[in-house]
């Protein structure tokens, strides 16, 4: 399967963007992939205008998992929470020039990590208001 990654996937795998943690993150999304046992942790920083100003990740997973983590952080930076909620796994895969069929579930991991991070942010916000 390795050979079937697009140049773009390999580029993000080689030079992943936004690797790391955000110590004072507004939201953290932790997901495990039931298909393959891989793990992704996504951090987002959100400002008072509901704009995602920063995103970082840590991933235990295949080449596609690392590339999709990198791409999803790139895609959501500068977006509002509402816009970010519309970022689907297909959008992530498409931005990478496509993924091999059996690696599509890796992009689902990225989408779910993002959703969880946003949920976490929204829950924290609610808790603060309450």
């Amino acid at each position: 399967m390795e050979g079937q990654y697009t140049e773009k996937v390999m580029e993000h795998f080689r030079n992943p963007r936004n690797v790391g943690e955000i110590p004072d993150a507004s939201g953290i999304g932790n997901v495990g992939n039931p298909v393959c046992g891989d793990i992704m942790r996504l951090y987002i920083k959100v400002d008072e205008n509901e704009i995602i100003t920063d995103a970082k990740f840590k991933t235990f997973g295949c080449g596609a998992a690392i590339a999709t983590s990198s791409m999803v952080t790139e895609l959501v930076k500068g977006k509002t929470i509402e816009e970010a909620l519309k970022v689907s796994n297909h959008a992530v895969a498409e931005a990478l020039g496509g993924l091999p069929k059996i690696k599509m579930h890796c992009s689902v991991l990225a989408e779910q990590a993002l959703r969880r991070a946003i949920d976490d942010y929204l829950a924290k916000k609610k808790a603060k208001i309450a």
Binding site: E2, R14, V19, K58, I102
Partner: protein
């Protein structure tokens, strides 16, 4: 990437580079000597002679009692299928029970699973933490309906060598046929079939510096087996189809060379393998050896890098010019964790970060030094990216 980047091939259990001597031996049979080995005229005769000569060479490497015990096939997969299905067909009236191990190559595993659907009973005997079959379990599994034990000689993923002599003895005592897949061990471990209780044994050309798409099945004289490929009277009526003369000649040459060089080669491979492991463990923490520490193929090193997933390591090594693999070539492309490491009860997270380095005759100490040089930064970079790895421990 620079044009002169070093290339290091450490995936010799997936396939090997066909040796120059083998290519030279095969060459005439693609062109000049094109006759059908079954033809009695002057065009066919030299082809027949070449096939017979190859049969002698294969028989000699395996220590078979007679060349007539060697049947040429299209490779390891066909040999495994032929052995297992052939015995099941031939011994239908005696029983329908097959015993195998949990760590077989898919060529055996999937054949057994197929037969289970067709009404056979299949027992998958477990292995210990090193991948060695549990002999007591195997013994207990034998019933009066058991017709075949099929356990590989050496495992392709971890290199662990199975106790085929003991299994042979058990099979002999119980009057059960014993097949072994020796695709990975032929040419690496000595075999002397005339003095072993092995009824059937599979080999493949491309794992021992011969061509792809050719192999052989050793069938001990007197073993009842039903042909699986029906047609003409080729291969003593056991496997129909016009002989792949160049391939068979290549396999014969490869076996001849492997036999001559076995001892020296095995010593060299063992040294390189252990040198690689030492290099890795001296520079990288949290590494585990998968497979038996001693009873292992001389060329196979399977190591688990904790907190990591193997594909990332393979891709990074590839960028540095190094070819290695996760598990077996056949399972890259599948998401299932290795069935071999699972059977050895390796922790699920540790299975993920396992990489197989399989050394070959072309490799040098410089190759190993190169790998030991490029690997640590790769592991560090990926571990820094892994949520399972907490720094500053």
């Amino acid at each position: 990437m620079t044009a002169e980047m070093r290339k290091v091939y450490l995936d010799n259990n997936a396939t090997t580079r066909t040796r120059e001597e083998v290519i030279a031996a095969m060459a005439p049979y693609f062109g000049g000597i094109y006759g059908n080995a079954s033809s009695i005229h002057q065009f066919g005769r030299p082809a027949r002679t070449a096939v017979d000569e190859a049969r002698n060479r294969v028989a000699s490497l395996l220590g078979a009692a007679s060349p007539e015990e060697i049947i040429f096939t299209s490779g390891g997969t066909e040999s495994d299928n032929f052995a297992i299905k052939g015995v099941v067909n031939a011994l239908r009236s005696k029983g329908n029970h097959i015993i195998t191990s949990a760590i077989e190559h898919p060529a055996v595993l999937n054949t057994c699973k197929f037969l289970a659907k067709e009404g056979c009973l299949v027992t998958f005997v477990g292995v210990d933490e090193y991948g060695v079959i549990k002999l007591d379990e195997l013994k207990k599994a034998i019933t009066d309906k058991t017709i075949l034990i099929t356990v590989m000689h050496a495992n392709n993923e971890i290199g662990t060598i199975e106790p085929v002599e003991e299994i042979g003895k058990i099979a002999e005592e119980k009057g059960v046929y014993f097949h072994t897949d020796a695709v990975q061990s032929a040419g690496k471990l000595p075999l002397d079939l005339k003095n072993m209780n092995i009824s059937l044994l599979s080999i493949s050309g491309h794992k021992l510096y011969g061509p792809k798409g050719v192999g052989a099945l050793y069938i001990k004289k007197g073993t009842k087996i039903t042909p699986q490929m029906l047609g003409g009277h080729h291969e003593m009526g056991k496997r129909a189809g016009t002989e792949n003369v160049p391939g068979i000649v290549g396999l014969g040459k490869a076996c001849e060379l492997a036999g001559k060089e076995l001892n020296a080669e095995s010593k060299k491979l063992t040294e390189l393998r252990d040198y690689l492991y030492k290099g890795i463990t001296s520079k990288i923490e949290d590494v585990r050896l998968n497979g038996h520490p001693q009873n292992r193929l001389p060329n196979t090193l399977n190591v688990g890098f904790k907190y990591l997933e193997g594909e990332g390591i393979i891709l990074n090594l590839d960028m540095e010019g190094v070819g290695a693999s996760t598990g077996s070539a056949c399972t890259s492309g599948s998401l299932e964790p290795s069935h071999v490491l699972s059977a050895m009860s390796v922790d699920a997270a540790d299975i993920q970060g396992s990489v197989r380095f399989s050394i070959g005759r072309d490799n040098t100490k410089e190759d190993i030094n190169y790998v030991v040089g490029v690997l640590p930064p790769i592991i560090k970079r990926l571990r820094d990216m892994s949520p399972l790895y907490e720094k500053g421990k």
